[in-house]
């Protein structure tokens, strides 16, 4: 039996990019929790790093008499942010494009901004959860004393926010560079090298100066430095390259990367690999 289906006679304007961004944040989070491999990787990786660092270097102290676990918590937290933003977004987006998920969004009329807001929303929620787990384990298992002042936590908040937004924007930007395989491998390799250069695995001030200078171009170094300013005592600032935490420069560099990433996204974002 044939049911008569009529087109809309009056058609309200399609929902705003913000409304679609909210809907997509919910969707992305639902897809995230339904992918056990991604959940375990995102949440377990920083914890495993913490366990390894704290076990291998147990008893050693770092500049200013800071326990090892406390010193490297900064680098691990920054890596975690890069993982859930830059790496997760870049890899997922390239795969979604290859699977034709983005082509569906295109024909359904999704504003690119709405899609991006969905990614950013998902990144912010997963990043906050991941950091909460990491800090809880650090405080309870490894006796890392977390900051108590409001100012420290405000610094933590803006560094996390800027870092996650920069990671999301740059992940979106690099995802257009090639096939999902190439993008996934490229991001992983780049992330590992960047971690060595940025003082995640070593004390930054002990790295050769040319490595410090290269690292200073990229966001991760600033993210780690911002995190050190949260988790290390004020006295440790003297061991920084500039002898201070350089909050202003950190904010500027991260913001600059957000702008650069947005420009690249606006020019290169494609729903499909070919048009």
């Amino acid at each position: 039996m044939t049911a008569v289906l009529t087109p809309a006679t009056t058609r309200p304007a399609p929902p705003s990019a913000l409304a679609i961004g909210l809907a997509r944040t919910g969707l992305e989070l639902r897809l995230f929790v339904r992918d056990p491999a991604q959940v375990v990787f995102s949440f377990a990786y920083p914890i495993v790093m913490l366990v390894i660092f704290a076990s291998v270097f147990a008893g050693e102290d770092r500049p200013g008499g800071v326990p090892f676990a406390q010193y490297f918590l900064a680098g691990i937290a920054a890596t975690g942010i890069m993982l859930t933003s830059f790496q997760a977004v870049g890899t997922a987006l390239a795969e979604e494009r290859e699977r034709g998920d983005l082509a569906r969004l295109q024909v359904i009329g999704t504003p690119p901004l709405g899609y991006f807001l969905g990614k950013a929303g998902q990144v912010l929620v997963t990043t906050v959860l991941q950091l909460a787990v990491l800090l809880t384990v650090a405080a309870t298992v490894y006796d890392v004393s977390l900051p108590t002042g409001v100012g420290r936590w405000l610094t933590f908040a803006w560094v996390v926010l800027l870092g996650a937004v920069a990671g999301t924007v740059l992940g979106t930007a690099v995802a257009s560079a090639g096939s999902s395989r190439a993008v996934g491998n490229g991001i992983s390799a780049f992330a590992v090298v960047l971690q060595f250069f940025s003082g995640v695995f070593f004390v930054f001030s002990e790295l050769p100066s040319w490595m410090q200078e290269v690292a200073a171009v990229f966001p991760l170094k600033w993210l780690v430095q911002g995190m050190r300013s949260v988790f290390l005592p004020d006295a440790a600032a003297a061991a920084e390259p500039a002898g201070s935490w350089e909050h202003g420069t950190t904010a500027l560099v991260l913001a600059a990367w957000v702008v650069v990433g947005l420009v690249v996204c606006a020019r290169t974002f494609r729903w499909r690999r070919t048009a």
Binding site: M1, A3, T6, P14, D101, R104, T110, P111
Partner: protein, 300 residues
């Protein structure tokens, strides 16, 4: 299968066509896969683009949908150029494509509920499930659907936003005969409600069953446009007269079979002409001739 014949809505006269294409060209690596296509689709009609694989059907439709750039020609779809049209335009068209993903981790119902939020107005999920015959699979994860069920979900997503113009690219691929019939009913229901439908298919029966007019595409060119019963009017006029003479089959192709028969009967005054048949080409023969693939065993 159709219990109630729905009277077609008369196509409004004097309105702009839903789709107007002039001289459309699309090249891949220098080779023109669409090579100067002119096309008009009237409002309210079901128009089928019929052709073999690689004829340029999907490319043509993708240009009309605004997801592929063209290299030449003019295209107007619902009054706008698809290459530059915005979201308001896109919400008026529906697309069932071949290469769009649906995601795997959501259930059918969750998928429909989610995508409902992208449209200015959306058909209720229950209505969509019923229309494509998926109510019993509503709680199934998309990853576990069969190929045909997945296709039906894609069709549901295509009509979700109550489009004025619906593009269906090889919509029944992977469907079993029952699902296919149900899909045909869905298209008839859409047509009865006034939706313009452009569908591509390489199934002749599908084009004959659904389409008001059929455009036959071969090697990137539109070789004929007509109602399914009138396709290849020239070719249809040619009848084939066959008979047996001296143990061999003789064959004459002619637009005037009666004249041939008179001669034959005169040559056989005693009575029967052995093995005599007069055939006119069916839709399939006409189609194969149009796309340049002569049916096996037939002389031209």
């Amino acid at each position: 299968m159709t219990a109630i014949q729905v009277a077609p809505v008369p196509v409004p006269v004097g309105q702009d066509p839903a789709v107007r294409v002039r001289g459309l060209v699309k090249r891949y690596g220098g080779r023109a896969v669409v090579d100067g296509v002119d096309l008009d689709v009237r409002r309210g009609e079901v128009f089928a683009l019929l052709g073999p694989n690689g004829a340029g059907k999907t490319t043509t439709v993708e240009v009309l949908e605004g997801v592929r750039r063209r290299d030449g020609g003019e295209v107007t779809v619902l009054g706008e150029d698809p290459a530059t049209a915005g979201r308001g335009w896109r919400d008026r068209i529906g697309v069932v494509a071949q290469s769009t993903g649906v995601g795997d981790a959501l259930t059918v119902r969750e998928t429909l509920d989610h995508f409902a939020r992208y449209h200015g107005t959306a058909r209720p999920t229950a209505e969509l499930l019923a229309a494509v015959g998926l109510p019993e699979a509503a709680g199934t994860r998309v990853a576990r659907l069969s190929g045909g069920q997945r296709r039906r979900l894609e069709v549901a997503l295509g009509v979700q936003g109550r489009p004025e113009l619906l593009f269906l690219d090889e919509p029944t691929t992977g469907m079993d005969p029952v699902a296919r019939r149900r899909f045909w009913d869905l298209v008839r229901g859409l047509r009865a409600g006034g939706t313009t439908v452009v569908l591509t298919t390489h199934y002749l029966d599908e084009a004959a069953e659904l389409a008001d007019r059929v455009g036959v595409l071969a090697d990137g060119r539109l070789v004929d446009v007509a109602p399914p019963g009138e396709l290849g009017a020239q070719l249809r006029r040619v009848a084939t007269v066959r008979w047996t003479e001296d143990g061999a089959t003789r064959e004459v192709r002619t637009p005037e079979p009666a004249a041939v028969l008179r001669d034959l009967l005169a040559a056989h005054p005693a009575g029967e002409v052995p093995g005599l048949t007069v055939t006119r080409p069916g839709l399939e023969d006409v189609y194969l001739s149009l796309v340049g693939a002569t049916p096996e065993g037939e002389t031209r």
